[in-house]
């Protein structure tokens, strides 16, 4: 290339780069440094590679139900007995969940439980039907539609084999024989609480919204839930002060965050809004109030 051409192109590229640098510096919202990109790629690859064998070694519904019951029995042994008020809440959750479960693809014995822990802002499900929702998460709920969307999300994790595939994967890694239920002790229960792969979460969100709408609930329940989660998430972002700290945080994130490669709340919120637009559900905005007996203000029950 001629020198002049090189100089012109060099100047142009330098200008474009400096412009990008300028826009980046001008952006008001700082971007956290994380290993999410690599984790997403790795988790994608891991999940994609694991999915094909899952299809060829699928457990029957009966086996899945038996495994779920075994795990649920272990969980029941770790949790305390519910108070009468909490039993009332659980009854309410079961009614909402039961209305949702009839529309699932697979007809499994879905059972809904409340975990009496105000610090647990989470919900999860086990293979074969058991669904758990934490007391902390219930405290965040402002409408029955939000509850329905959360429960539908968990039902869809079961319905779409996400839970049982985690069992299969762990059993494969640890060389467990799933026909011997006692060997399930080697799989920690926390495995189902830490979320799923990004695509699986998206799938559960999307299909959960369909389930909620089929059961007569508003899809905006999912939107408001994700808004709560986004607000919580922003409070936990930490910024590094030097490359070493950044590297160490990246290492810690890589180690602890591999299994938490589920999408950011903002991404889930974006998908929920897109689904609403695509399915023309904009008119379903009205949400049912949360049950009167369980209105919560500052963590206290109010009849």
């Amino acid at each position: 290339m001629k020198r002049s051409v090189v100089f012109v192109v060099f100047s142009l590229i330098l200008g474009v780069s400096l412009a990008g640098l300028y826009w980046s510096q001008r952006r008001p919202k700082p971007t956290p440094v994380s290993a999410n990109a690599i984790l997403n790629i790795a988790a994608d690859a891991q999940r994609d590679l694991a999915r094909a064998p899952m299809q060829f070694t699928r457990l029957s519904d009966e086996e899945e139900i038996a495994i779920g019951r075994e795990l649920a029995a272990r969980y029941a042994a770790q949790t305390r007995k519910l108070t009468p008020q909490e039993e009332g809440v659980e009854k309410y959750v079961r009614r909402v969940g039961g209305a949702l479960a009839v529309h699932a693809h697979r007809h499994l014995p879905y059972v809904f439980h409340v975990l009496p822990d105000r610090n647990m802002i989470n919900a999860f499900s086990l293979p074969g039907g058991p669904v758990y929702i934490g007391g902390g998460l219930l405290d965040l709920m402002m409408s029955e539609d939000e509850l329905a969307n959360v429960l539908a999300h968990e039902v869809e994790h079961i319905d779409h084999y996400h839970c049982v595939e985690r069992v299969q994967l762990e059993a494969g890694l640890k060389k467990l024989n799933l026909e011997v239920l006692g060997q399930l002790v080697q799989i920690p229960l926390e495995l189902w609480q830490i979320g799923y792969h990004k695509d699986e979460e998206f799938e559960a969100d999307r299909e959960g919204m369909f389930l909620a709408v089929q059961s007569g609930y508003s899809p905006y329940g999912a939107v408001s839930s994700f808004q709560h989660f986004a607000k919580l998430h922003d409070e936990y972002v930490v910024h590094a002060r030097d490359p070493a700290q950044e590297l160490s945080e990246l290492a810690i994130q890589s180690l602890t965050g591999y299994f938490r490669s589920h999408p950011l709340p903002s991404e889930r919120l974006d998908q929920a809004n897109r689904v609403i637009v695509e399915k023309h559900w904009e008119g379903r905005k009205s949400q049912k109030p949360f049950r009167v007996e369980y209105e919560v203000h500052n963590g206290e029950f109010v009849k």
Partner: protein, 1535 residues
Amino acid sequence: MPFTQLVLVLYLVLAFFTPVLAIFLFVREAKLRKQLKALEEENARQHSAFQRDVAELKRQLAAGAQHPASAAEKPPVAEVRLPIPTPAAPPRADRPTPVVVTPLNATPPASLPTEMREPAKPYFPPATPPVEKKPEILPEQKPQPPAPILPPATAVPTSASEAKPLAPTRPAEPKPLVPAAVPSPLRTPPVPAVPPAPPKAPSAIPPAAAARVSTPRSFSALRVPAPKPTLQQRMKGVDALEEALGTNWLLKLGIILVVIGVAFFGIYELGALGALGKVAISYITSLVLLVGGIFLEKRETYRLLGRAAIGGGWALLFFSTFGIYHVGAMHVLNSLTLDCALMLMVAVAMAVHTLRYRSQFVTGLAFLLAYTTVALSHDTVYSLSSGVILAIGLIAIVLKMGWFELEVFGILASYLNHLYWLYRILGVEGAQGRPFEAYHASLTMLFFYWLTFRISYVFRTIKTDFEEHVSTLSALLNTLLLLGIMKFQSVQPELAYLALLVVGAFEFSFAQLPVTRRRRRAFVVLTIMGAVLMLAAAPFHYSGNNVAILWLVGAEVLLAAGIIFKEVVFRRLGLLTGLLVGLHIIGIDFRQLVTLRASGEGLALALGVLFALCAFVFYLNALGIGSRWKEFFANSPDCQFLTIHTYIGAFAAGAAVWALFSRDWTALAFAAVMLVLATFGRKLESFHLQVQYTLFGALTMYRALAVNLHLESPEHTHVNTRILTLPLLAAIFHLTAKLAAFRDDPKHRIFRGLFAFAGTALFAFLIWFEVPELWRPVAFIAFAVALSEAGTALRYHALAAHAHVLTLLAVFTALTADSANLHIWHGIPVHALAALPVIAGCYWLAKRLGVENPRHLEIARSAYTWVAAGLMLWVLYEALHTPWIAVGWIAFALILGLSARWIPYRQLVWQANAVSACAFLRAYLFNLTLQQMFWHKISMRLFTVGLVTAGAYLLAKIAADTIEEFNPLIRNAYTWVGAFFIGILIWYEAPHAWMAVFFLVAGILLALVGRRWKLPHLGFQEHLFAITAVARAFDVNYDLTASCGHFSLRIITISIIAAGLYAISRMAAERGAPHALLSAYLHTTAATTLLALLMWKESSTAWLAALWALFAFALAALDRRFKLDDLRWQAHALAAITLMRSVVINLYVEETWHGVSVRLLSLSIVALVFYALSRLIRMPDHWRARDFHHVYSWSASTLVSLLLWYELQSRPPSIAVGWAVFGLVLFEYGLLRKITQFRYQAYVALIAAFTRIFFSNLTASDAGEFWGPRLYTILPIVLIFFFIYAQLPAKETDTARDRRWHFDALLAYLGTATIAALFYFQFASEWVVTSYAALAFALFVAAWAMDRPIFLDQGILLAAGTFARGMAHNLFGAGYFGEGDWTGRYFVVGSAVAILLASLIFGLRLRGRYAASSSSARWSRALSAIRSRPEQLQFFLAIILLTTMLDLKMREGMITVAWGIEGVFIILLAFAVKERSFRLSGLGLLLLCVGRVLAMDVWRLQPRDRYITFIIVGSALVLVSVLYTRHRETIRQFL
């Protein structure tokens, strides 16, 4: 009644067929005899004419030999000599025939027309079934008398393949020298000379050629091994396979699928059609197939298609006839008899019509399809009558035509048909003893099948080996299938023995018929089968000993019969039955004995007698009969069987002894058997008997150890039986040892040695158990000495080895005796005194050991003296008080060392060294820890360690001066030990703060003394003391806080040490010594280190890096001035720690100096010093030539990069852009100034930028945001990558080093990878596959347009990535219930497939542009092969993706249909682009469809999907086959 009706029908069938068949066969035989006679006459005429021709040829050859001059003028090929065969050496099939030597007729091959030399041989074999390629019928050749001269032309090809003319031999055929030599009924008609004949293979074979042809056996001994096929030949094989698949097998499979599909259609209900309608459709379809087939068969091109259609049409017609009564959905007829008659008529017509074509394929296809279709729809046992009719028809055809392969399939079809019917009424478990209604009818039908096929087997005429093999297979299948199905339908399992006995007896009887004995193979097969079945019947009715006895009797009867009638089959059966008896007594009877013995030692008389009888009979067979009738058993496998009989006899004998004797006497009985066998073994010189009595010896030894030792008895008690039996057993072993040695060779010496060792071991056990503890060492050593002396006297030196073992036992017992020290004599333990005779014995044996081998003797003597020394060491340890043990040992070492002066035995010297080493260790580990005082202020430690040190110096001085083994190395070791002990004493005595100084002073003194007295190793001791001093200074002196005047004690002591180090640095080592320079470096380095640490103690944190940098600069300057290399290295080291400190400390400094950041100032100074050092630092020229000085510029650039991070850290995505811009600037500067290292630094910065985007930029945008920081920070980086890549052209010399490290490729890959990563996060996950396909498309376009192979490589990689992503994410990773819309199901992956297929346009244009590499690396060759043919990868990835998508997304019932249609389209595409591999893949896909139909669809699909699949896939196959047939010539052009 229906059963009677069925029997009646079968009888009528037989009654009808027998006369018709007899008359037909009679007429046929007369015709054949007539033809045979005519052929004999023709053969005789040709033979006489041929002899005349040969005589003429010989005459011409003789005439040619008389005129050598004229022969020399002929072309060289004319000199080929004719082979001169003899009657004893028939001609080889591949030798040149007489027509090859036509040049004798003065017509050289060069003058032949081209068409003659390269005959127009069709590329593919004729499209006819294999059986039709066989040559025409030949009359059976009579054995000809050996002709005097038999030219090769008379050699009849031994098989159809050999009948094909070889290419080189064909040209000469049109111009034969001897016309009479050409005619041969097996030869293909000669090709006319001009013009060449078009390929006309099928018409060249007359119809009669399809019948069974028998040829004489080939002379395999004269065959040469087939050469290894070349690649071209293999490719031709693939081409032929494709041709065969396309024009032949696909057609057959298609017809079969269509016929079965129509049958399914008829069987299953179809709402709109009634039974009559389905019957009509079925008949019409069959007639259409028949008529169409007959029509097409007359056309040459479609002959095969026509024949397949005829076969399918007949099968469908038979099924239709069957179905009008038996199939519910087609039931229009109510009479079974009428239906049977109709089926019979159809079968007869089918046989008669298909035989017109003399094609085993047509007939076989018709019959087997008929079997298959009727098997689909059985309802009652009487529906199996169709199978009987087909079997009879099949047997008639087999016997007439000799198509025995067809019979195998017929047998399988008949029995499996029957089994399938039974399975449908009994289930997968079978009858399991439950009676069912049609049992007797089924049994009768099975026996009818068996008898029919058995008669066919017995009465057939066999002409070739292959036919005999096939017949054998059918015979075995017949019986096995019969028994298997009888087992499946068994209602009385207790009568199984009767069935086996009867069938076996029948088979045995059939074997003895004269008609059977004419065929040896049939006799053997049936005899073995009958005998096996009869033997197998015994365990079904008898059990326990009776079975063994019965089998033993049977074995002896068969063996006797074999000897009487001289029939090897009987003999071998007898021997094998004997083996069976052996297995039985081992597996069954012996287990009973084991069970019995587990419960007690009582007498087992019955089992003992049985085993004794078996032992007698087996030894009689092996040693008696085998010796009497040697001619029957020599040189045959029977000899091996007899050997096995002897082993079984030995086993039986052992078992008999075990059963008949008990307790201590069992071992004696075993020993007696051993002795008897040894006697016989020596007499017969039998190796196997030797093995057997050896095993008996092992058994005896085991029994003696387990029982006769009486380990259960209390210690120190005497057992009478032990005292009695052990010597007896030992004596027998020694006697057997004498008998065991037949000869004096190694093998027999081993046998003798084992037995002798066993005897000695038993004596040793006697000593162990019967002699008191303190006397055992004496007894063992005395026994060892006695054995050694006896071995010397008897000249049996193996006893010396026994002496070794006994000596070890003596030592062991000496060391372990009286371990509790219960016996003391004057304060000395008695066991230490008891060890003294062992020491004496060891020295005696070392002196007088009787061993012939000098090496063995030397090793043994050395071992004995070492053992004695070790034992003496132990005795001293036991006898002396603890502080004086080390002194005693050093004294013993001195004695040993001094003894070596008088006894010239070197091992004593080494033993002295070892003992003194033990003394030193003892002094170090024990005496140095002593606290008590010895005398006044002299401690015991000082006194005893001093004595040991004195001993060390005494050994070093006195012994070393006199004995050469105390070489300088050992002497130095002794002085090192002395120095070590001195140093330890200084450690205990010197003051705390000044200890380092004392160490250094001692070292300096040692160095000076060593330098003066020329003792270089003292210099090393100085080094050690100097190291100790420095270490002590680091450990203690830096922490001193006391002061001395204005200076702290730390500064004073460290300064003294540093000064001492600098002072002694050039004098510590001997001048000129190899390590002198290293010593000086280490001393100055230590001094510099001490000073640098002092600076660290005194200066502030922020400026230390700058101070160190300046200090390094000063050292570098001094080095540059005075050429002191060690200072240069210290400057490097200081620079390194300066850099570390800058990175670790200074980057975090936030204080300011006059308003300016100290971090900025200090790092600027450091960077400046580093850049200056990169230019000024002194280095060897070759280092500088390799850019080592740029370490400093690399460090500076690293610091700049870190500063960029700190400046831009508020917005993390900016950092990657900043690094990329910095890299761009560095690259341009390096390119401008031609500094390679700057460009390398630029590459690193760019790689860092690329890495950085994965941690910040790729996830920078918000969800749903298209134009965000992700896009506008990554795109400039991509531009920078490709801009720099564009400035690295291939022929630029300035950047040659960059390209050598493949930075150009790296940048191109980084650019593409960045785009791929951007797409991954920019698009929705399901659309990533499409974006990758589009990127691959763009790369292929770039590669084609810009002629850059790197983009082709990237395109290939992206195509593979697209494939992987599509498979893993979009297909296997997709949701199970969602994505039901058209995009999720088909469009996304379909669009990717479409883009990949579209990129074929450029892939085909790039085909062959980049030639394949000839590199030796397999990977390189594979990659270059892909690069040279990119369209292959593009096509196959797309097709596999598409095929998998259809599999996963289509409804299960339609998958095969979709694949079939895809296969047709692939083949059409292959025709369009003229690509053979595409066509093969289409063929493969169609074959996969066939496999899927057979493996899955036929079992799983719903009826409607099933027959639709069969019909459509079958039609697709037929369509493709028609295409192949129609475009055969076009396809050949593509190959």
